[in-house]
């Protein structure tokens, strides 16, 4: 097969890293958002 991904310095771009971190960001938004919703649902304080 042609593509032996050569990790030479110039060509390497961390695409997989992006995918993992994107999953992280989505999880972050969901979990943070759920606590934020709890905050809103529990009413005002002033």
């Amino acid at each position: 097969m042609a593509e032996h991904k050569n990790s030479d310095n110039g060509e390497f771009h961390p695409k997989g890293t992006w995918v993992i971190l994107l999953i992280f960001v989505v999880t972050l938004i969901l979990l943070w958002g759920s606590v934020y919703v709890i905050l809103l649902s529990r009413g005002v304080t002033v």
Binding site: H13, T17, Y36, R42, G43, V46
Partner: protein
């Protein structure tokens, strides 16, 4: 000192930094709106008292719930090892209560379950927060800061009916 010296940042990483900052800006906006526009605020300094004498005279000498006007209450709560005074308060649903809480000994916490009332109780300081509760039920207020051996048993109940 060569020409090569520079921060070359991978384009993927550059985008990642942009994304991170954008996300934080959105979060910051969300909490700002909840805090300053909708009124879910954190406490600010109310007053300073002398913890040695605060329970001798003034409102914390006889702490309790008091009706200011129909549907509007104030609750002076005294925290001490290991109880809140009063232990039980009853308000009608839909009323607004302003809590004034202080401690005559060590630090305590005051968390009214299932509401956003959650505040430190620090001797010498008065913690003030208001809440409006529409849903009838029993709302425990529990001590959330370690205050000694009886800490786990320190709680009271706000009955909304």
């Amino acid at each position: 000192m060569t020409e090569k010296q520079s921060m070359h940042i991978d384009p993927y990483e550059k985008n990642w930094i942009r994304l991170s900052i954008g996300l934080l800006v959105v979060f910051a906006l969300a909490v700002t709106i909840a805090g300053f526009a909708m009124g879910i605020q954190v406490p600010s300094p109310e007053a300073r008292v002398d913890p040695r004498t605060v329970a001798d005279e003034g409102p914390w000498a006889e702490p309790g719930l008091r009706e200011l006007a129909p549907g509007k209450y104030e609750a002076y709560v005294l925290a001490q090892t290991w109880q809140f005074t009063p232990r039980e308060m009853t308000i009608p649903a839909g009323s607004e209560v302003t809590f004034y809480i202080t401690s005559k000994d060590v630090q305590h916490g005051f968390k009214l379950q299932n509401t956003n009332i959650n505040v430190m109780v620090i001797p010498g300081q008065v913690s003030k927060l208001s809440v409006k509760i529409d849903e009838p039920g029993r709302y425990d207020y529990i001590c959330t800061e370690f205050c000694g051996l009886g800490h786990a048993a320190m709680f009271g109940t706000l009955i909304v009916e």
